[in-house]
C-alpha cells in the first residue's frame, strides 16, 4: 500500500497543479502565454492520468483515473500543498510553477533509476516535459525578478509567501523512507541538494532573495490541506457528482 500512496502523491500533485493552470487559459498577460500555460497544463494532466491509472491498479479496487480524480474527497488527496495554492497574479503562478518544476526535475531524474519499471518508464516521459516546464517557468522568474521594480517586488513577495510550502518536498515521512529503502524512490536529501542548487542559481540570476526556511509542517502529502482544496475540488468534481454514473 505504501507504493500506491506514493504514486498517488505524484499523481495528485500533477493533477491539482494542472487544474490551477487551467484557470488561466484565456486570461494570461499575452496570447503567447495562454499557449505556454496551456502546454504545461496539458502535460501535467497527461502525467496525472498515467500516474492515477497506475495508482488505481496498485490499489486493486477497480478505480480508474477518472474515479480517483472525480470521486475522492479532500482528505484522500495527497498532492503537495503548494500545488493547491491559488493562482494569484502571473508572478505568483510562475513562482509556484518554478518551485515545483525544479522539484519534479530532480525527483523524476531520480525515479529514472526506480526499481519499479512502470515508474521508471513514466519518469522518462515526465522528465522530457518537465525540462521544458522548468525552462519556461525559470525563464519567467528571471525576467520578472530582474525586470522592473514592480515586477521584482511582486515576485519577491510571491516567493516569500510560497517558500514555506517547499519544506514538505524534502521532509521524508514513513512512505518516502520505505520507498527509498525499497529502491523505488530516490533519497530526498539528494533531491533537495539538486533542487537547492537549481533554484539558487535561478534566484540569483533573477536578483531575488532566497527566503529563510520556516517550520511549516502541514503536509498535503499526508492529507492535510488548506481551505483552497475544497473549492478547487468542488469545481473539478461537480459534473460527476451532479450526474452520478453518467458517461461523457
Amino acid at each position: 500500500m505504501s507504493k500506491q500512496r506514493y504514486v498517488l502523491r505524484l499523481a495528485d500533485t500533477s493533477l491539482i497543479l494542472a487544474q490551477r493552470l487551467g484557470e488561466w487559459i484565456g486570461h494570461a498577460p499575452a496570447l503567447e502565454e495562454d499557449l505556454g500555460l496551456a502546454n504545461t497544463a496539458l502535460d501535467l494532466l497527461g502525467q496525472a492520468r498515467l500516474l492515477l491509472t497506475y495508482a488505481g491498479e496498485l490499489e486493486g479496487l477497480g478505480r480508474d483515473a477518472d474515479a480517483l480524480a472525480f470521486l475522492r474527497s479532500e482528505a484522500e488527496f495527497c498532492n503537495l500543498q503548494l500545488a493547491e495554492q491559488p493562482n494569484g497574479d502571473f508572478g505568483n503562478t510562475l513562482v509556484r510553477q518554478f518551485l515545483i518544476d525544479a522539484f519534479q526535475l530532480e525527483l523524476y531524474e531520480g525515479l529514472l533509476q526506480s526499481g519499479d519499471a512502470r515508474l521508471a518508464e513514466i519518469a522518462a516521459q515526465v522528465l522530457r516535459e518537465t525540462r521544458y516546464h522548468f525552462r519556461y517557468s525559470s525563464g519567467w522568474v528571471i525576467r520578472l525578478g530582474d525586470g522592473t521594480d514592480e515586477s521584482h517586488a511582486r515576485v519577491q513577495a510571491a516567493l516569500d509567501r510560497l517558500w514555506p510550502f517547499t519544506r514538505e518536498f524534502f521532509d521524508a515521512d514513513e512512505i518516502d523512507t520505505q520507498m527509498c529503502t525499497a529502491g523505488v524512490a530516490p533519497d530526498l536529501s539528494t533531491v533537495q541538494r539538486g533542487w537547492s542548487a537549481r533554484v539558487g542559481a535561478a534566484l540569483s540570476e533573477a536578483t531575488l532573495e532566497r527566503p529563510q526556511d520556516t517550520p511549516f509542517a502541514w503536509y498535503g502529502k499526508r492529507g492535510q490541506h488548506s481551505e483552497h482544496l475544497g473549492h478547487l475540488l468542488a469545481e473539478l468534481q461537480y459534473m460527476q457528482r451532479a450526474y452520478p454514473g453518467a458517461s461523457w
Binding site: 484565456g26 496570447l31 522592473t148
Partner: protein
Amino acid sequence: MYTQGLDSPGTVDLPAPAADRQALERRFQARVDAEEKIEPKDWMPDAYRQTLIRQISQHAHSEIVGMLPEGNWITRAPSLLRKSILIAKVQDEGGHGLYLYSAAETLGVSRDEMFQQLLAGTAKYSSIFNYPTPTWADVGAIGWLVDGAAIMNQIPLCRCSYGPYSRAMIRVCKEESFHQRQGFEIMLRLARGTTAQQQMAQAALNRWWWPSLMMFGPSDTDSTHNEQSTRWKIKRFTNDELRQKFVDFTVPQADFLGLKIPDPKLRWDEASQHYRCGEIDWTEFKNVLKGHGPCNQERLAARRRAYEEGQWVREAALAHAAKQKLRTGRAAA
C-alpha cells in the same frame, strides 16, 4: 518577403498620376484573376489593404474571444480526457488568433493597435461568442455547430488572394476539423446517455442553432461588401450559399443524433434538393452586433482585465530584455 515593414512606407499609396494608378490597378486585378497570390510588399489598392485588415483582424478577434465561452468549462470538464481535449482546443484557438494577427500585421497594422480596437469595443468579432455556455452540452454544441459553420467559411479562404491570409487559413483548417469532431462526439455521448444528458443536449441545440445560422452574416440582399470582395478573391462564396451548405450538412447530423432542430418550418425541398429553413430573426442579430447580446460586456471585460492585469508582466519582459542587451553590449566592449 514576410516582414511587417512598419518602418518602411509599404502601407502608403505613393501619389501617382491617374494613368499610372489605373495601370497599377489593372495589373493588380489581372494578377488576382490569374489566381496569383498577393504578398505583403506588393502594390495593392488601399481599399484592398483596408478590407483585408478589417476582415483578418475581425477573424483574429473572434478566435481569441472564442476562447472564453469554452474556457469557461475547462475547470469543470466531466472527465480527464475531456479536460485535456478542451484545453487543447482552446489552445488551438489562441494559436489561430496568433496566426491571424501575424497575417494582419504584414499589411502594416500592429497587434497592439488591433487589440486596442477590440478592447475599446470598436472592432467587431463574430457575434456567436456573445452567447453563454451555461451547461457542458453547450461546449459540444459549439464544437459541432459553431466550428462547423466556421469551417464552411474558412475552407474557401484557403484560396484567398492574399498570401499570408491564405497560408494562415490552411493551417487553421488543418486544426479545425478536430474541433468539430470533438464537439460532435460530446453531443453523441450525451444523446446516447441518461435522460438528463439527452435533455441537456437538446437544450443546447435549441440555444445554438439560430445563432449559428446568423454566423454567416446578413442575407445576400442585405449585405454590402460582397461584390468588391468577390472580385478581389477575398470572398469566394456568398453568405446565403455558405449558410445553405451548412444547413444541408448539419440537418442529417442532428437526425443521426436523434435531436430535433428548433425550427418548425424546416423541411426538405425535393425540387431544389436542399433543406429550407424558417425566417431568421435579424433583430436579435443586429442587437447582439451592437453590443446588446447576453455576454458582450463580459467577454470584453474579461479581455480587458487580462490585458490590464498583464501590463506589468509585459513591461517587465521588455525591461529585462533591455537590461540583457546592455549587459552583452558592455561585455562586448
